[in-house]
Symmetry: C2
Subunit: 202 residues, 2 copies
């Protein structure tokens, strides 16, 4: 039986933690993130919904000094020092041949056949849904008492060639540092729109 | 001063509500969603991070019978009845000219100039970041005690023409119903991958 939570909002402190008080960090406290925490982030984020349960995200977690340096070398000058300072930075990629996995990920129908011969559609679906998964990643890390620093300033082709060399059908989407944010590394929060600016109820 | 939550995971029940027990619904209880709830979802989701705070999502909430019918008419046969039954279905679009808003959304630098003359880059950034915002939407609704039903089976061009006729630079990304999920409308949860299947720590 599925648990339901109708009209039971999370406590204000929980909404603060995952949305209202959480921030994107540029600097990190000198405190490691364990493999257990890395696993815990994935165990939560994988529960978030994707179209036909396609789960297209493929993640490389750069945690060793060597891996961090290799990633930093392929990033913008502004992002390189952030990566070197962070305990771990995840490269969130997407598999444009995700449909090969659908027979076990979406077993009750032949979903693989929906995507065969439609590489453009697969690229769009994988990019959209791996982005959703990237957002679940960010919320999951925050929900576990960690901070994140998502970034897109890097050389995608060079990152793919280095980190996904054995997975030629995987493309990097964005990267995201995880750790304990240094509060001195952030500025005032950027403005957020009023509802009526970007929404219409009809 | 920014609140920090280091090593303070949310209670298990909160993680269940937003990730582990939450499900995508196909059917809905006959119980309305108020405009206040619609606003509350946006007030949370807008706090989620986007690249250079670009906030490219533009949302039309189809709540009246007329708007729901117009959306259902432009959706797949499988999705049309779900939309007619849901209290509200949001059309999550993205503005490929989001950079026009950056002078106030990201005021401390001239971020608008980064995107001028690069429509392909803007399309990619708007698609990626509106997808992130779509995931924040889903988590925000769940955190508020509501259920969601995200869908991508619709005629994007026809939806854009009808719902974004006055915003020719906005493209639909995906749609998402919101309401109180009918537990009889779902099946067993689809399988989720073990960590090692789609992750590497290096």
């Amino acid at each position: 039986m599925t648990q339901e939570y109708h009209d039971q909002p999370l406590p204000a402190a929980a909404l603060d933690q995952i949305f209202r008080e959480a921030r994107t960090y540029n600097g990190w406290l000198d405190k490691p993130v364990s493999d257990e925490q890395v696993h815990a982030i994935y165990e939560l984020m994988k529960m978030g919904p994707t179209s036909a349960n396609m789960q297209p995200a493929r993640i490389v977690w750069a945690k060793s000094d060597e891996a961090k340096q290799a990633l930093a070398d392929r990033c913008s000058e502004k992002n390189a020092p952030k990566i070197l300072a962070a305990p771990v930075t995840a490269i969130i990629g997407y598999d444009i041949d995700f449909h090969e996995e659908l027979p076990w990920l979406f077993p009750h129908t032949d979903a693989k056949s929906w995507f065969e011969g439609d590489e453009e559609g697969r690229k769009q679906g994988a990019f959209r849904n791996s982005s959703l998964q990237g957002a679940y990643f960010i919320i999951a890390a925050r929900a576990l008492g960690l901070d994140t620093g998502p970034m897109s300033g890097f050389d995608n082709a060079a990152v793919d060639k280095h980190f996904f060399v054995d997975q030629p059908r995987v493309r990097s989407n964005f990267i995201c540092s995880v750790g304990y944010g240094d509060p001195t590394s952030i500025f005032e929060r950027s403005p957020r729109p009023e509802f009526d600016k970007f929404n219409r109820v009809i």
